[in-house]
């Protein structure tokens, strides 16, 4: 029960459970209460990384460079959002990386092979992606297996299916170019266009990313469904006992990840015209990393939707910042790891400081 209470962040800081109104404790200072929010640590981390690269890499100061950083962050961030919600709901999804490619392959091959308007492929891909999510959730709820196992299974299945079906259908391991087909331009405008802001080309995915983040925040903090997410992630059994539809919540959370995979998959398809079937492997860990850096606990029941936004931003910033700084590329991954660990530690330190006393 304490967990469900803790779950509603608007009510009280999550780390200050138990009776507080008995007069023994005073109201904690605003700064500390603020620091106890899941997204504050990552916000400070992201700000630190941003300032660091603004100083270390002069090119970052240009508007165009920031647009590139935001673009990279958005393609990770759009997926990190549902992955974070799922994590708050106590589960995670290893199939999220290859599911993006599955969706793109489905849309591409269906429209190409049957010579259909590409929107047809887009819609069927959405159905397939939601179906994969529903399957993950259904199997999890039905069997009670940990999500690690269930989604590891789907991860491997999708990886194999992506490859085998693409080869079977197209005769190659990449899909055919669909850029001259009906509906392509329209779909491209929605999923992969860019627009001009004061001479800077901004990718539309950045807008979608922020819109989805706002939506997710609202759902999480202001709706019944948001409470259910915290409740099932905090303690599934007590949640069920107080009438939270656990099965529905978990399955829909997995389907949300499916939706994210579809969206990012469509972005990849309409910005690169073809898809290689071996892509996507390893991306799931980056989505999970963005969510964890964003303040979501791997154990569930705690986190926010805005935290992963900063998490994804930080990932994009570090990733591109290293290039903008012109550092020795052999150290690329090591730099990335050190900066991310540093950010997580800042995160941890902030929340510890905030919750002390």
């Amino acid at each position: 029960m304490g967990m469900t209470q803790q779950a509603a962040p608007t009510v009280s800081p999550p780390s200050a459970p138990g009776p507080r109104a008995d007069g023994r404790t005073r109201e904690r200072p605003l700064a500390l209460r603020l620091l106890a929010r899941p997204e504050v640590g990552v916000f400070l981390g992201a700000a630190a990384v941003l300032v660091f690269f603004l100083i270390a890499a002069p090119t970052v100061r240009q508007g165009n460079s920031m647009a590139t950083v935001l673009y990279q962050a958005s393609t990770i961030g759009i997926m990190a959002l549902p992955v974070a919600l799922l994590m708050i709901g106590g589960e995670f999804d290893l199939s999220a990386g290859v599911a993006v490619i599955t969706s793109a392959l489905t849309a591409s091959m269906l429209s190409y092979q049957l010579t259909l308007n590409v929107w047809m492929g887009v819609i069927v891909a959405l159905v397939v992606s939601l179906g994969i999510g529903a399957f993950n959730g259904w199997l999890l709820v039905r069997t009670g297996l940990p999500s690690f196992l269930v989604t590891l299974g789907t991860f491997l299945i999708l990886q194999g299916v992506n490859l085998a079906i693409t080869k079977l259908v197209t005769g190659n391991v990449a899909t055919d170019d669909i850029s001259n087909m009906d509906g392509f331009e329209g779909a491209r405008a929605i999923f992969a266009s860019s627009f001009d802001v004061g001479g800077v080309q901004v990718k539309i995915t950045v807008v979608w990313w922020l819109v989805f983040a706002a939506l997710a925040t609202w759902v999480l903090l202001r709706t019944k469904y948001g409470n259910w997410i915290f409740a099932v992630g905090g303690n599934q059994d007590s949640a069920r006992a107080v009438g939270v539809p656990v099965t529905f919540t978990k399955i829909t959370l997995f389907m949300l990840v499916g939706f994210g995979a579809w969206f990012v998959g469509m972005h990849q398809l309409f910005s690169f015209n073809t898809v290689q079937s071996g892509e996507g492997v390893g991306q799931e860990l980056i989505f999970i990393a963005a969510a964890v850096i964003g303040g979501c606990l791997l154990t569930g029941g705690y986190g926010s939707a805005i935290g992963p936004v900063f998490g994804a931003f930080m990932f994009g910033m570090v990733n591109q910042g290293i290039v903008y700084a012109g550092w020795n590329p052999d150290w690329f991954k090591a730099f990335l790891g050190v900066m991310l660990l540093g950010a997580v530690l800042i995160n941890l330190w902030v929340s510890r400081t905030a919750t002390r006393r």
Binding site: V69, Q72, N117, A174, G278, V281
Partner: protein, 334 residues
Amino acid sequence: MDRSRRMIPALAVAAAAALVLAGCSSSSGGKKAEEGADGASAGKADTPRMTVALVTHQAPGDTFWDIVRKGAEAAAAKDNVELVYSADPVAGNQANLVQNAIDQKVDGIAVTLAKPDALKDVIGKAAQANIPVVGLNSGVSDWRDLGLLEFFGQDETVAGEALGKRLNEEGAKNAVCVIQEQGNIGLTQRCDGVKKTFSGTTQILNVNGTDMPSVKSTITAKLRQDSSLDYVVALGAPFALTAVQSVSEAGSKAKVATFDLNKDLTSAIQGGDIQFAVDQQPYLQGYLAVDSLWLYKNNGNYSGGGEQPVLTGPAFVDKANVEAVAGFAAKGTR
């Protein structure tokens, strides 16, 4: 547990949507526009059926290896050979696959030597079992030491050097070599080769090859960071195509060159988006490896005389000769 009942309407909606949209076909592009094209066929030998194992270090879903395999399949069909293809990028697993082929008592093994040391023992076992082994693609400096019969491929360093020389001819000053898989020896050798002969500056850039948006933004970032870059050298066709987008996004004047081909790449060369590609002819590597084992069994021949590798690259494809190649690339064999 009424989930299954709730699924029925969802399925019904999906099916209905599929039916409605089935009438919604594209008037351009797509399968209908594709010409029916079959792979090359050179008849069929009436020699006794033999089995050849082709064991590579291919990572799943890579367009390059798909072409190698198609070459091998074409030779197998012609030579009345049953081809057993297997692949694993992890060296130890690849060695197990070779062992597996020995256990099956195949008549010949073609193997890539991305990590020669790991395959040394198992290749020795094949020799003990009197199974001829040929090398292809990678391992040009090791195949003789390991006792292979012959080798088909290109020397990655030589290919890189050729590209570096070409950059000099093109008047390039500052190039960036984009590695899509950090730590891959062949890719590193290509960039090293470029560095060796290119008289301008060669920089290295690592990108995450499994995530195209990330590849795109990283190359864009590099072009912004160093605006004097005038050539992007990609090491694989899909990455070269992405680099073209990065160049336009960064507002850079850099030109793009690449290793390896595919059908979209040939149209990019035709359209002038990509200047040239160094082609190591993967189809030829797969084809010759299988065919050579057939020749050895049926006529005792070995190409290269057992001393010299048979080089399949570097062949340059640029605007001057791309027309001749494009048709084959469209079939997925060049």
